[in-house]
């Protein structure tokens, strides 16, 4: 019987120049995915979003979160600082913490009761010095040179940013300000300027597509005025608006910025656009009862992608972080945390909650995005590794833009991706 010859497809060979054609194997190959986890989520100086500070306000408060596929515990220590430790016992590898949220004085693995301080240090373990018999002899115990300090939970480097919490397994990672870069920081600080946040709630969806497709979706200003009826019809995002595309010097993070107009018919951007609904009006205008907030300073929408793990949304009065938790090359969990500000009036909170109907897994707008990401992955799978996407709107190069008729931000991300992946 002849052995089946190994598959020698074109995978891992990026045939084109630049980053305007993305091969389908970048979305489907398990080996590529493993390298992405190692280099983007666990190493190479990358930071991942893990929580909002307001989710763990008091000492001992913790929540489970994710860095890539690794479960981590985000916990506020007694002195008010925040620790992030890996949820994996140093003894036998047990993912011991199962409560998604709570308050703890210490963490105890149930298997053999190894006990850890809130900073991950091993505080003690049963029978470390053996069990003393009545005749004075000692049975068992850890070796004499066993050092508690060497057996703590894996501890991540942590930095907070005006209410956001980021962590990294790479202790040589640069400070967050350097990681985000000077072009992105002002847009982040526009929302997170030190005001205290309020937590409105969390929504979770499982999207059967590659995690990068979600990053792309929010680096793609081309689609919103086409896929999303609400955006084109009500002027929330469409090509006749004043807008800017900003990216960091590596091309990995980006901000899509725009200012809403009155919507309605405008030949250049609505003619032939099937999602445009000329006569559509809302039966209940409260769904889109936009009130300008002073801190906007102009833009009504800023969509920030902080590679690789989070998207930060301001779309009119609706604010959220969207955490990407990858799970294999063809699925990721998408966790939305909606928030407001402590000085919001009750009316403003209600407004943010009403506008939340546009976003999330059932959103008038965002439900479309999860769907098309699933359809993209279906297409990649059916073609196989030698297919490729075409991202050539507004050329093949990478650079900032003062309009939204462009795919430059996607090209920017894949330029960076190729460099780090060495592909």
């Amino acid at each position: 019987m002849n052995a089946i010859p190994p598959f020698e497809g074109p995978e891992h060979r990026w045939t084109g120049e630049g980053s305007s054609r993305i091969p389908f194997w970048a979305y489907t190959d398990p080996a590529i995915y493993r390298r992405e986890l190692e280099r983007f989520f666990y190493g190479n100086g990358h930071w991942c979003y893990v929580a909002l500070e307001v989710e763990i306000p008091d000492p001992g408060d913790f929540k489970l979160s994710w860095v890539g596929e690794r479960s981590v515990i985000v916990v506020r220590d007694r002195d008010g600082s925040i620790n992030v430790v890996e949820n994996r016992c140093a003894h036998r590898g047990v993912r011991f913490c199962r409560k998604p949220k709570g308050n703890a004085r210490s963490f105890v693995c149930p298997y053999h009761q190894w006990t850890y301080k809130l900073n991950g240090d091993l505080a003690g373990l049963p029978f470390r010095h053996g069990v003393k018999k009545e005749d004075g002899s000692v049975q068992g115990g850890m070796p004499a040179d066993f050092d508690l300090k060497q057996h703590g939970l894996a501890r991540l480097k942590v930095e907070t940013w005006n209410g956001l919490v980021f962590a990294t397994f790479d202790h040589t990672a640069p400070p967050l300000s350097e990681y985000f870069g000077a072009d992105v920081v002002p847009w982040l600080n526009r929302i997170f300027d030190g005001r205290r946040l309020t937590l409105l709630g969390v929504n979770r969806q499982r999207i059967p597509g590659n995690w990068k497709l979600m990053m792309e979706n929010i680096k793609d200003p081309y689609h919103p005025g086409l896929l999303h009826t609400w955006f084109v019809t009500f002027g929330l995002w469409r090509a006749d608006q004043q807008s800017r595309m900003v990216m960091d010097s590596h091309g990995r993070h980006a901000v899509m910025i725009s200012q809403r107009n009155q919507g309605g018919e405008a030949k250049a951007v609505t003619e032939g656009v099937t999602s445009f609904r000329k006569d559509m009006t809302l039966n209940d205008a409260r769904l889109l009862d936009v009130v300008v907030e002073p801190w906007w300073q102009g833009p009504t929408v800023t969509m920030i992608t902080l590679f690789p793990s989070v998207i930060i949304q301001q779309q009119v009065n609706s604010l959220s972080t969207r955490h990407i938790v990858p799970s294999g090359p063809d699925s990721f969990d998408f966790i939305w945390t909606h928030f407001g500000f402590e000085d919001d009036t009750e009316e403003m909170t209600r407004r943010r909650l009403r506008q939340a109907n546009l976003f999330g897994p059932a959103g008038f707008v965002s439900a479309d995005d999860g769907e098309v990401i699933e359809f993209s992955q279906d297409g990649f799978r059916q073609k196989g590794p030698d297919g490729e996407t075409v991202c050539e709107l507004d050329g093949r190069g990478v650079g900032p833009a003062d309009h939204m008729v462009t795919e430059t931000l996607i090209r920017g991300m894949y330029g960076y991706w190729r460099k780090v992946m060495e592909i």
């Binding site: 999602s275 909650l353 059932a362 008038f364």
Partner: protein, 166 residues
């Protein structure tokens, strides 16, 4: 004993029967995509929410769908039928017997467990959304109407998107 306005006695069994009939009709309407019938089961000033158990139990106000009044319900239906781009699917509701929490003849409070199965064209059926209804209803001339239905779902992950009401 429960009493209807106008002092006509309404037995506990009758309330139970009406509530279960309403839930059966509710599931049937959504499974048949008969959204006019769905809206007709609510009072004009209704509240309809689909919220995760995680948020509900913590007292967090965020829902995945939160509609107030017939107008917003109609806007959602327009979204489903005209603007939301999605892969179509069938829904199948299985709603348990309601538990009547209180009934003063004007307002009735009840809960019921539900499970919604999803079937996409050409695919198998899957458990889609599982939870409980927490309801406040009014006795009206046209029978019981939902003044508030909160769908509190256990399912920790929405399977990609949730387009139709549950």
């Amino acid at each position: 004993m429960a009493v209807r306005t106008g002092a006509i006695a309404l037995s506990i069994l009758e309330s139970q029967h009406r509530m279960d009939q309403l839930n059966a009709a509710y599931g049937e309407a959504l499974d048949a995509a008969d959204y006019d019938a769905w809206i007709g089961m609510f009072t004009e000033d209704c509240h309809y929410r689909v919220v995760s158990r995680e948020n509900y139990d913590q007292g967090l106000p965020l829902s995945i769908m939160a509609l107030e009044g017939h107008g917003m319900l109609r806007d959602r239906v327009y979204g489903i039928t005209n603007t939301l781009f999605h892969s179509p699917y069938y829904q199948r509701h299985v709603i348990g017997t309601a538990r009547i929490l209180s009934d003063d003849g004007r307002t009735l409070h009840a809960t019921a467990n539900y499970a919604v199965f999803r079937t996409k064209p050409g695919s198998v059926s899957e458990v889609y959304n599982v939870g409980r209804y927490i309801d406040r209803l009014l006795h009206t001339r046209e029978g019981l109407k939902l003044q508030e239905r909160i769908c509190v779902f256990d399912s920790e992950m929405v399977l990609n998107s949730l387009i139709y009401p549950v």
